[in-house]
């Protein structure tokens, strides 16, 4: 995520830190719900915020991963864990706010991850997969450590990966057609963000397997 993909480096950094904060809060809240101790709270905040990006960087060869080289990235989950440690009741009441931040982070990270994968030479479709992995990987690992069915795959959670896939497919499609400016990236991130919010508001769910009998 070193290259500027939004209109302005300052704007980009603000988005990144908001996204990291939201992901980290979701990890810390999960740890608190599971009665993890303070070590678990910090650990799950950091893993939720950074596991997707670290996996992406290891796979494309961007070593060391940006989460280990950018001090703001590194410290943000610690700060989010500290705030959540004391303010978790407020955050639980502010579920909607956390989900809105999370949607912003999802849109931003999926697009930024896809563009970084393209910049490292991956083909469009693998770049799409890595971009989505950047956005959803941390939450997947969070739920695995907390021994929950991953929210990412549960039929009773609103669309999460589907907006991400749609947005990054648009980005790589336009990239292939030669449209690569920062406005494209910003628009795609905004599209994912809005799509996710609408999916939550309208309770849109992804289908389960065709003609599956529920037991």
């Amino acid at each position: 995520m070193a290259q500027p993909i939004l209109l302005d480096q300052g704007v980009q950094l603000a988005f990144e830190l908001v996204g990291i904060f939201a992901f980290a809060v979701s990890g810390a809240l999960m740890a608190i719900r599971k009665d993890f101790d303070v070590v678990g709270i910090v650990l799950l905040a950091g893993i939720t915020a950074h596991a997707g990006g670290v996996a992406r960087d290891v796979i494309i060869g961007a070593i060391p991963p940006v989460a280990f080289t950018h001090l703001g990235y590194f410290l943000m989950p610690v700060a989010a864990a500290a705030v959540t440690f004391f303010a978790h009741r407020a955050f639980e009441r502010l579920t909607t706010a956390v989900l809105v931040f999370d949607a912003a982070g999802l849109g931003f990270f999926c697009v930024a991850g896809t563009l970084k994968a393209l910049a490292y030479g991956l083909s469009p479709l693998p770049a799409t997969a890595l971009g989505v992995l950047t956005g959803v990987g941390g939450g997947l690992l969070r739920d695995m450590i907390a021994r929950e069915i991953p929210a990412l795959v549960r039929p009773d959670t609103e669309l999460y990966a589907v907006p991400a896939v749609a947005g990054v497919l648009a980005v790589v499609g336009l990239w292939e057609l030669g449209y690569r400016g920062p406005w494209i990236a910003a628009a795609a991130a905004a599209f994912i963000f809005v799509f996710r919010l609408v999916a939550m508001a309208r309770h849109w769910h992804a289908p389960t397997a065709w003609r599956r009998r529920r037991g």
Copy 2:
């Protein structure tokens, strides 16, 4: 898996795609049994098919991993997930067929993974471990995400890793003795395949710990 290890590149590609398909179907079926939504079905198909190979490539430094550079590799799990989405009842009836395909994939990927690790300069024993990881890693992660005791380690599943270890040990032993031709690789993959099928037919199980009292 770029270098030809079987007699013919076309034969090799066919084996690879059959193995990826079988692994992906086993992931998609697990997702459907767990009532995951369509996102989870595609995700678990892709992870089961490719996690072992991606881990191997990251460990030996073959960046980016072949799963992200070869379009056929990349698309096969998506196709397998799509077929399974509609045809899962048929696949459930065809359990034996899926297991036979899976055994073919196991034999092929363990041998190909071992040879790739040797080609990247690893010593024989670590290459053995990485080869087996290539074959079994995806299924292990599949079961972790689905919150199942990994089939790989359950005493009530028939031998799975044992044929793989035996086959790749034979490959590295012969490699060390100077026998490195494609026939060796093909014979070892066939050995793993047949050993696994016989283990299923005869219900061979690996032992649990010596003098373990069951509670």
Copy 3:
């Protein structure tokens, strides 16, 4: 862990092998408690011993990871699994001994991991995180595969990560001030070891979230 960080290469190797053995035994014992078969016992021994170090090496770009290049490292978990396979009842009675070995491994690996990360150019705080990851990552993955709440984050286990964080923060602080000799490393490893033992003896626990109601 290639560079000598303790006073003597022989002493260092002995520490490393003791730590790997202790971690591997804890993995093998977990597998036996869960009634995994012999494949699961070897697998969980190896993963517990090496997953943290492999993750660190992949993240800093030390490819292939030392676990795959050093034969003693590679074989130790296999030996530990073999011993535990037969002697698990003795080890269960020797819980304290295993925990003492584990504490020695924790101290050694956290410090060695931090110094290796610094040697590969990471900044002090990320090096701290990677050092702790080296020490605790294997146990975290062990518990995830065994479908246990990770001991690392449970409020009813005595301090484990806290001594590690304290010790490696001391190492990087002194490193920044220019004190980088082998005595520093040895003292920090000993500090982590003793802190962990005292935490167990005195039943020190990390706090859970502030004003958390237990349900």
